[in-house]
Every structure is written in structure tokens, then in C-alpha cells.
Symmetry: C2
Subunit: 221 residues, 2 copies
């Protein structure tokens, strides 16, 4: 009868924490105290515990018994391997998704890409880029595959942001060109070409990132 509200407390808490982690408000390595979160969101500790477990499944927190939850901190090699995983899994997800994308999805992809090209600030770019790519996978009905792709995006989000703070506008032009090629292949339903574009896009990003070890050293803007 209501507007599909998330009236389950644990989900509300999870949504809140997820946003806080993805936006960088809670940084990698930082500890999350149950009581503090519970108090701030007006719930008891129990839904917070459930929420932290959900986030753990999404790769956003890690849990150690009697020591609580932290946001995982990754080193350069870990992130590089995660990018290699993305190179292999995301083309598969795209292939599974491609023929199920609706005409409306394509229109939204176009719209997102136009907004990406509008060159907003870094936070906006990251959010739109994420939305763009995940939308291309939205037709993938294989739960395991979709959830793993989201996990990989979640894990690297913080380092993508850190890298964007270092890289110039030129990078964005390359991204835009690659997105356009990808969009074109998707609209033509050319699975092979779309997979190639996507793998190349991720691969290039991985290699660029590997030239900036400083991303993984200090605290970040």
C-alpha cells in the first residue's frame, strides 16, 4: 500500500552505510562501531549487525570476530588483480546482458554518457560512470555474476576516486571515446565487439593505475 519503502531497518542501515563507504565518508582501514551507527540512525545494534553482514557480502566491509567491522584496505597488487578479474568477468556479464537490454535502457545509457561528457566534478563523474557501466549489465539475469561485478566495483571505488584526483582531463576524453565505441557496439548488438571494447577499456585503466603507486600510499582527498 505504501511506495515500496524500505521499511526494514537492517536494509535502511545497510543503504546508509553503503553510501557512506562508496562516497569515501568512511575510508578504507576505518573501523565501524555498531553502537555509534545504531545511535546515529535511531535503531538498535541488531539491525546494524545484520547490515554489516550484508555489506560484507558486497565486499564493502570485513569482519573479525570480537574485533568488529572495518572497511578493507587494499594494496596496489590487490587492486591490479581485481582489475584483471573485471577484465574477465565484465565482458561475460555484458554478453549475458546485451540481448535483454530494452530500447529504454539504451536511451538511458545515451543520456548518462551525455551527462558524463558534460564534465562535472569528480564525485559526479564517478557516480555516473558507475551507473553507466552497471546499467549495461542490468540485463544479466545470473545473480552470481551480477553480484560479483558489483562487488568488484565496490572494492575499487575508493581507489578510482583517488586516481581521478591525480589524473588530468585528458583521461576523461579517452574514457568518453571508449564509452562511445562501447555504446555503438551495444546498440548494434555486436557482442564480440562490445566485449572487446569493454575488456580494452578496463585493461587500459588497470595499466594507467599501475603507473600511479602513490594512489595506494597516503590518505586521500
Amino acid at each position: 500500500m505504501n511506495g515500496a519503502r524500505s521499511d526494514v531497518a537492517s536494509r535502511r542501515v545497510a543503504d546508509h552505510l553503503r553510501a557512506a563507504i562508496l562516497s569515501g565518508e568512511i575510508a578504507p582501514g576505518e573501523r565501524i562501531r555498531q553502537e555509534e551507527v545504531a545511535e546515529r540512525l535511531g535503531a538498535s545494534r541488531l539491525p546494524v549487525r545484520e547490515a554489516l553482514r550484508m555489506l560484507e557480502a558486497e565486499g564493502l566491509t570485513e569482519h573479525h570476530t570480537h574485533k568488529g567491522a572495518r572497511v578493507p584496505k587494499l594494496d596496489m597488487h590487490e587492486v591490479e588483480v581485481i582489475y584483471r578479474m573485471r577484465e574477465r568477468l565484465e565482458p561475460l556479464a555484458l554478453a549475458e546482458s546485451l540481448q535483454h537490454l530494452t530500447r529504454d535502457d539504451l536511451r538511458r545509457l545515451e543520456g548518462l554518457q551525455e551527462r558524463i561528457e558534460a564534465n562535472g566534478d569528480i564525485g559526479e563523474f564517478l557516480a555516473l560512470d558507475r551507473e553507466f557501466h552497471l546499467l549495461t549489465y542490468s540485463g544479466c539475469a545470473i545473480e552470481q555474476l551480477s553480484s560479483m561485478v558489483v562487488r568488484l566495483w565496490n572494492s575499487t571505488q575508493h581507489y578510482r576516486r583517488a586516481y581521478m584526483h591525480l589524473s588530468g582531463q585528458a583521461r576523461r576524453w579517452i574514457v568518453n571515446a571508449e564509452h562511445r565505441l562501447l555504446l555503438d557496439a551495444i546498440e548494434r548488438q555486436d557482442a564480440d565487439e562490445a566485449e572487446r571494447c569493454l575488456a580494452g577499456h578496463i585493461r587500459r585503466t588497470r595499466i594507467e593505475l599501475s603507473h600511479h603507486p602513490e594512489v595506494f600510499e597516503g590518505p586521500i582527498p
Copy 2:
């Protein structure tokens, strides 16, 4: 100071349920009632809830709000895609693991393969085969990669068992031959060859499985 006992109730419960699901005692599609488990293991419902969340992160259960936990039931296409994910991820895990494998690991791999060749019953074969492959990945220090590989194995375990009940001894000879080739490449630290062997091994299994749609239809031994 104690013998590394799993004195945390939620972990004990999770271990118990994991074993029950992997052994087929709890079948795909089956519901898991918190109170029943709690009573049977002499704990309250809370650690059971935590355990179910852990298992969800491992791909062994799925959770729907106010409807509880079930073991996911997959159709043939889903399993086929999961095998394609394995084809892409496990060679990567092997490459990451290869140079960290100790001489002792290699000896244990040899021992496992010999026990596999001893041709025990199906349950034993499945357990040994799982142990063999996961041991080859044990040197992989990338948590995300290792955990995803385990997830994929967990998800398909039941269907591997169902398939084994249908396939003859000839399949085992092929598996043994492939394992020997893989072991040889691993011992020579030949990453490329090992990746090729492994991808081929998984690929062949996927194709074989796709010839047996009956695996996904009825209830299973």
C-alpha cells in the same frame, strides 16, 4: 592458549550448515528455519541468523526479507554461466597462486591425486576433487579472488554431484588425465600451460554437463 577451537557459536553453526548444504543433506530450493537449526545445535536463533548471513556471502543461501533463507536452486543456463565464470577466474587464481605453492603443497597435491585415482565412491571423489583444486589456489593471497572461486565451487557442488551420478567411469579417466597434465605444469611452474590445462578442464566439464539437461530437472539421489 586453547586448541584454536571455534568457540564462537555463529561460526560453529555456519560450519555445520555449510557441511550440510555441500553434502546435499539440505537440497537446493529447501528452506532453512532458524528456530529448527537453533534447537538442533543448542544455540539461540541469533547466531543462526548470523550464520545464515555468512553463508549468504559464500553463495550457499539466499535471503528474502520476512521469508527467510533458502538454498538457491539454479537452472541449466545459470550453471553454465557459472562454469564460464570459473573458466575465466580460476586460471587467474592459479597464476596468482602458482609461485607461492610450497614443496609440501605439491606433495599433498600428488597424494590427493593418487587418492582420486583410487576410485572411491562419488561423495569421496567430489570431496577430493574439490580439495585438490582449491589446494592449487591456496597460494593466492587476493581475498576477493579466493573467496569468489570458493563461491563458484559452492554454487555448483550440488549439480556436480547430480552429474556424477549419471556419468560413467570413463569420465573419471579423463579427469585423471587432465589432473596429471595440470599437476605436471604446476610442478614445472609453467603458468601459461597450467592456465591452459585448467581452462580446458573446466570447459570440457561445462560442455559435458550441457549435454545432460536431466541433471536440472528432477530431485536427485
